[in-house]
């Protein structure tokens, strides 16, 4: 099966096949990849320059099925949350709290922006090698695929791994200042994307008395903090008393993730096809 054993005729056939792979098959795969990724990019609703069309606004209702302690109505426009209404029923007195984004404020979901940028970079890499481009070596294809896969896996990782934040980081983020009426000091909110879901967490805090006998141990970074987590912010110590997490599936994020997975597999398959031939002869790089 190896080069040493391959006969002259076999070799010629193999070389012919490799030529076909480079000239035809690679471009077919690249086109397919481009189509998929463009589809994915459209999902992110990048406001394309020149078109002028405003990005569609979508409303999502975030709630849990069992209790209705926290309910959020979010309006997502591309990578930005442009409206948010949070209803919170305090567990102690059943008092209903309501906050909304201030008119002038938007919250940028960095994860979506990053994923979108990564996809666009991948598309750009593929666009540079359109049908007219002649691949001369397999190595070239492998390098291109590596670069595309790097962008795609980063795009996917961005959506699948929300940032792990410490509580003081959440408290000091601009998010707390975006609401009207102003958030009470014992409430923290955080938005993030986890896979295909838009998530909202609301932390109810309880101020720790300086005289308390409890051991103060500040919590580290986490996507979702548990009740009992402690932190210090502005020389005041807090403990998380209640955590409410509500989420809602964003359909197009789901689509995008599927597109990422499919295109990553396509890329890997193309790489595998190319490397099969490396068993037969060594590439002459350039």
């Amino acid at each position: 099966m190896a080069a040493a054993m391959a006969s002259q005729g076999e070799r010629a056939v193999l070389e012919e096949e490799f030529k076909w792979l480079l000239q035809e098959e690679v471009h077919a795969v690249l086109r397919q990849l481009q189509d998929i990724l463009k589809e994915a990019s459209h999902r992110f609703a990048l406001p394309t320059s020149g078109s002028g069309g405003a990005v569609k606004q979508e409303n999502f209702v975030l709630s849990t099925s069992g209790t209705d302690q926290v309910k959020g109505v979010m309006t997502l426009q591309g990578d930005a949350l442009c409206q948010a209404d949070v209803n919170l029923k305090m567990p102690r007195n059943n008092q209903l709290l309501h906050f909304a984004f201030r008119e002038d404020k938007q919250w940028k979901l960095q994860q979506i922006q990053d994923a979108r940028n990564h996809v666009n970079q991948a598309i750009y890499l593929l666009m540079n090698r359109d049908a007219n481009y002649q691949f001369k070596t397999g190595l070239e294809v492998l390098k291109l695929m590596d670069a595309v896969m790097l962008q795609l896996s980063r795009a996917r990782n961005r959506l699948t791994t929300p940032a792990t934040l410490t509580l003081p980081e959440i408290a000091s983020s601009g998010l707390t200042k975006m609401f009207t009426p102003v958030l009470p000091p014992d409430i923290l909110v955080n938005f993030y994307i986890n896979l295909n879901k838009l998530c909202l967490t609301v932390y109810q805090l309880h101020m720790m008395q300086p005289s308390t006998t409890k051991n103060f141990k500040p919590a580290g970074g986490s996507v979702l903090h548990n009740p009992g987590a402690m932190f210090e912010f502005g020389s005041q110590r807090y403990e998380v008393s209640h955590v409410h997490k509500v989420e809602c599936v964003v359909p197009w994020l789901n689509d995008a993730l599927v597109f990422f997975t499919v295109s990553l597999q396509l890329c890997q398959q193309l790489k595998d096809k190319i490397s099969v031939f490396s068993s037969y002869w060594n590439y002459k790089p350039y």
């Binding site: 990048l46 320059s49 960095q110 390098k143 997975t261 990553l264 890997q268 068993s279 590439y283 790089p285």
Partner: protein, 1073 residues
């Protein structure tokens, strides 16, 4: 004890692949710096007539290099910063090749600009970075820590490109940046210096959406101080910097993409494309709008349109993706140079005329290529230097003269080098002998008699080799495994050359052979994992001689293999973050998980054993991994404390003796990512060699009972030293455990451990060692046993590699005849392993431009012309002090050669230590208030503790104990420090000193050769003096060592203790003079 180890690279015929991803020319136009996808930095000499020659390759990054930029004012310090895909950043000194600073941040930069404002800024300046994150990061150029960010108040996004606008007219330094969405942003720099230093948020001054996506470059015209060039992939545009109004747009030809541009002169631009073409445009003012005052009262509207003047292209229409840049220097000897680096590793230069003109008929004129060069060109040109390590073997056997090494492994315990070739043959040779045969001249007898074995078994390329006994004694010492392109794994008996077992996996090429980790103690099994290029994993049981499992379902390359001994399952982590769990008993796929579950599984079994399989690692990581593995088995602190002695007893006595003693000489095989070019790095452990040589010398002397007093003294000090080494070993071993990550253990610990490993093994453990402490004889034996010839041969090989040959023919001959230091066959590629696993290697053809004149006289291996001057200076400075010594050199004939070699060698080692360390010290002195970030604090402390004792020990010992001993040491120290300030490279200094010392020691030989009789009489009279002198010198030296050891010990126990500061100032004062 010091991190750095001299290394000699033995390159192969093929140059390592270097797909250029970033390229720059330094401000002095003498060096081209390229970064590659493989993760290496290459330095190229650029001569004044624009000829290129590769100079050095810098290893250290583990991922593709994304950008390069200068990191200091270049006239002051020739530093360049590099950033990679995985967030690593390194500051390199591009004249010496040393890594100055490194860091790993969670940011991927795509562009870096150095900014320094001399009068209002403290520190070394800022690196303004942009990349795959929002807005702009400000990173300290010295510490590489994040200082602050420049943030956006609206539409914040990734920044694609930027430039610093420095304009006398505007009186303000600004940063102009364009985001991926095409929004142009301007930040004030000079007026926000204070707020940045006080960490207040700095928002952009202006933000304007341009109609361009995929912006590639933005440039400010410093000539007109009002035009702004914006290059996007589809078009380039010129804006008015005052109001950002569009002045002109030019679209690119179909099939091309613009990649960047620069302003050549007022109203003259150069724009380049992704495939290596460039266009020079003249912007013409439309006279119409200029002459007319607008009637409607608007501001004067000026339009410009471009006219193509000239263009540059690639030869043969061969256009490959490339990165380009342009240096525009107005100072006289400098040229305007357009440069490009291709993915193939080719560098192309165009000399752009000061006034580019079109042809007479007005059509654009082509500017010819000035120079083209690749690494391979250098390898071809200096083919004697790029000969592979076993090429002479392949040549000797007919029929396959061109066998290329495709994989290799060095077995330190047996000093065996195993090389697998492209044609399926495996060569087993002796490492040191092979290296000598490859590097030295006139040892054809050696070449002919070089013992080697050829193992025939594979039908095609040998892709990987594994000697499992190295890492775990569980494996039989005779086993050697090889995997081939033919999907066959063969287990060989390395001693007989016979095939013990052949596993035919019936799948794709074997890419990796890995062994189960050391303390996997479920069963006493010898299991090897085998990764194939079709992403399948096979488990081979060597004792049972069977393949336990062949897991074939993986869609993506295998990244991690873990073993869960409790469940008896194999957990395979793939590159797409999915996990496959295989039941070993039944061979079935139990689970396939992705996403969070997969991550959870991998972290859950984190504590149990795992191996990291990197199928296609860049060479740096490859070598790093090798280094680490070398570290693991050599340090043996685990073995020593764990189950090691028990195992040792099991294997044959003879083997444990040799295999466990760490050799002072190692061969590190390395492989590059794409073209599988194999090369080898010979590593010399100076400390170790010195110790070996001295003990050997000592042994010889004591056997002649020549200097009784000396021996005693030495023995005492050695004992002391051993004790210290042992203690030190404990602390050293402690550190990585505390860190919990053996991977980041820097190599100086490696070498300290190497040192320490031996005494422990000699005794087989601390307790046994203590018993033996009393009897010197037993203790001395093992170290002497290492193979007397090996140590001297290694030392001589290193000296050969260091000497400049042909400076004085007579000296050459005398060296070869009396000292048996043989002439080199060709210049060697020297390299330095500095701490933190950074390595720089010279490439074939280094400095050939510099030494061109001298080369005619047959001088070669001279690192630079400066060496000769330095050598003379050194001779002058140390004149007289060794005067009386010279006469005695040759009184003891038996040991004289060895003595001289040892003397020369210890000189080099000393120089090495001195010059290697003060940089850290001087840095400390220069900025005592330096804000030490956590990550380098420990390193700094260690650097000081390692460096200063040398000085410290040197000074008092020369004053207190002995009346007029090494007076030269101080002056020597001064001289070397002085050199260090003049940025003399280590290799230069070593070579200069060696040359001087050789001249001095050889000269009397010359005389005595003529008149032996009279000198003998003189000798008789001087014997006693000599004895004293000798002993004091050597003991003195030993004392130096001891003191330094003690210091290391103390300091490493209390790293935060800053009591060494008083004598830092001492060092300082001596440095100044």
């Amino acid at each position: 004890m010091k991190a750095s180890v001299p290394a000699v690279a033995v390159w192969g015929r093929t140059a390592p692949s270097h797909s250029v991803t970033a390229v720059m020319i330094t401000d002095d136009q003498q060096t081209i710096v390229t970064g590659s996808q493989e993760g290496q930095i290459c330095l190229w000499d650029l001569s004044s007539d624009l000829q290129i020659s590769s100079k050095e390759m810098l290893f250290g990054h583990t991922a593709s290099v994304t950008c390069l930029a200068k990191a200091r004012e270049f006239e002051k310090q020739p530093y360049v910063v590099s950033a990679t895909e995985n967030g690593e950043m390194c500051v390199w000194n591009v004249t010496s090749g040393q890594c100055i600073e490194n860091a790993k941040l969670p940011y991927r930069h795509t562009a870096i600009h150095y900014y320094h404002c001399s009068f209002r800024m403290t520190g070394e300046g800022w690196l303004l970075c942009c990349g795959e994150y929002q807005d702009v990061l400000i990173i300290d150029a010295k510490t590489l820590g994040v200082l602050h960010t420049l943030s956006s108040s609206q539409s914040s996004d990734w920044i694609k490109c930027m430039c610093i606008v420095h304009s006398a007219r505007i009186q303000e330094d600004s940063l102009v940046a364009v985001s991926v969405a095409g929004v142009l942003k301007v930040w004030d720099l000079s007026s926000s210096l204070n707020s940045i230093q006080e960490k207040q948020s700095v928002c952009e001054k202006e933000s304007k959406s341009l109609d361009c996506i995929n912006c590639q470059a933005v440039r400010f015209c410093t000539y007109t101080e009002r035009l702004l060039l914006v290059v996007s992939s589809m078009c380039w545009q010129v804006y008015d910097y005052c109001d950002f109004s569009l002045l002109c747009t030019e679209f690119c030809k179909s099939g091309q993409c613009f990649a960047g541009g620069e302003v050549l002169a007022a109203y003259r631009l150069i724009i380049w494309t992704e495939d290596g073409h460039s266009y020079i445009y003249q912007l013409l003012n439309s006279g119409l709008s200029k002459s007319m005052y607008p009637a409607d009262g608007k501001a004067l509207k000026e339009t410009v349109y471009p006219h193509l003047l000239s263009f540059t292209g690639m030869k043969e229409n061969k256009s490959l993706p490339s990165v380009m840049g342009f240096v525009n220097e107005r100072k006289e000897p400098f040229y305007k140079v357009l440069f490009s680096g291709e993915v193939s590793g080719r560098i192309t230069l165009w000399h752009i005329p000061d006034v580019p003109v079109s042809t007479f008929d007005g059509s654009p004129k082509e500017i010819p290529i000035t120079t083209m060069w690749t690494l391979q060109d250098n390898f071809d040109k200096h083919h004697s230097m790029s000969e592979g390590i076993i090429d002479q073997l392949c040549g000797s056997e007919d029929g396959f003269g061109s066998a290329v090494v495709s994989s290799s492994v060095y077995i330190p315990g047996l000093d065996k080098l195993v090389c697998g070739c492209d044609n399926g043959k495996i060569f087993v040779t002796l490492g040191l002998e092979t290296a000598r045969a490859r590097l030295l001249e006139n040892i054809s007898f050696l070449k002919g008699n070089l013992p080697y074995k050829v193992l025939n078994g594979h039908s095609s390329r040998v892709t990987c080799l594994l000697y499992p006994h190295d890492k775990s004694v569980r494996f039989d010492p005779s086993w050697l495994l090889s995997g081939g392109q033919d999907s066959v794994v063969i287990c060989w008996d390395i001693f007989t050359g016979g095939i013990l077992q052949q596993f035919d996996l019936q799948s794709a090429a074997v890419t990796e052979l890995l062994q189960s980790p050391e303390h996997y103690r479920l069963k006493d099994q010898s299991i090897v994992y085998c990764v194939c290029s079709d992403h399948s994993v096979a488990i081979l049981h060597l004792q049972k001689r069977q393949c336990l499992l062949h897991a074939r379902k993986h869609l993506f390359p295998v990244k991690k293999i873990k073993f869960d001994p409790l469940e008896n399952v194999l957990i395979v982590g793939c590159e797409d973050n999915s996990v496959y769990i295989w039941e070993i008993e039944t061979g079935t796929l139990e689970r396939h998980e992705t996403g969070d579950t997969a991550r959870a599984i991998l972290t859950a079994v984190e504590d149990s054993e795992y191996l990291v399989a990197g199928a296609l690692l860049p060479v740096s990581q490859d070598s790093k991994r090798n280094k680490n593995s070398g570290y693991k088995h050599s340090s043996s602190y685990k073995h020593g404390m764990g189950p090691y002695p028990a195992h040792a007893e099991k294997s044959s006595d003879k083997l444990t003796d040799t295999s466990c003693i760490q050799q002072p000489f190692t061969i590190l095989p390395a492989k590059t990512k794409w073209n599988n070019a194999n090369f080898h790095i010979l590593l010399f452990d100076l400390e170790k060699l010195e110790e070996l040589l001295s003990s050997q010398l000592n042994g010889l002397k004591s056997s002649k009972s020549f200097h009784g007093q000396y021996t005693l003294e030495r023995a005492k000090s050695t004992t002391e030293k051993r004790a210290l080494t042992l203690k030190r070993n404990k602390t050293a071993a402690f550190v990585p455990q505390a860190d919990g990550q053996a991977e980041t253990v820097c190599s100086d610990q490696v070498h300290r451990d190497n040192n320490a490993a031996r005494p422990m093994e000699e005794g087989g453990g601390i307790k046994r060692w203590k018993k033996m402490k009393s009897s010197r004889k037993i203790r001395m034996q093992p170290s002497g046993n290492i193979d007397v010839n090996m140590a001297t041969d290694t030392a001589k090989l290193l000296l050969s590699c260091l000497l400049p040959w042909g400076v004085d023919k007579e000296i050459d001959n005398l060296c070869a005849r009396h000292l048996n230091i043989l002439r080199l066959q060709c210049p060697v590629s020297f390299g330095l392993v500095s701490d933190e696993n950074h390595l720089s290697l010279m490439l074939p053809g280094w400095k050939c431009t510099d030494c061109g004149v001298l080369g005619e006289h047959g001088v070669f291996n001279l690192f630079s012309k400066r060496v000769l001057d330095l050598s003379n200076k050194y001779l002058a400075a140390t004149e007289g002090q060794f005067g009386q010594k010279d006469g005695h050199e040759n009184n003891d004939y038996g040991t004289r050669d060895l003595e001289t070699v040892f003397f020369l060698f210890s000189r080099i080692a000393l120089i090495y230590r001195i010059i290697n360390t003060p940089s850290a010290v001087t840095d400390e002195i220069e900025s005592p208030q330096k804000p030490e970030s956590v990550h380098d604090k420990w390193r700094n402390v260690e650097a000081i503790t390692l460096s200063c004792p040398n000085f410290y020990a040197e000074l008092p010992s020369s004053k207190s104990k002995y009346h007029s001993p090494d007076f030269g040491s101080i002056s020597l120290l001064k001289l070397i420090c002085c050199w260090n300030d003049q940025s003399v490279k280590i290799v230069e200094a070593m070579q200069a000193v060696l040359l001087a010392e050789v001249q001095r020691t050889i000269n009397p030989l010359r005389k005595t050769a003529i008149c032996r009789e009279p000198s003998a009489i003189v000798e008789n009279g001087n014997v006693s003096v000599l004895k004293h002198d000798k002993s004091s010198k050597s003991a003195n030296f030993q004392d130096v060592e001891d003191t330094s050891d003690r210091y290391v010990l103390e300091e490493s126990e209390s790293p935060d203790d800053m009591k060494q500061h008083p004598w830092i100032s001492k060092v300082c004062s001596c440095k100044v003079c």
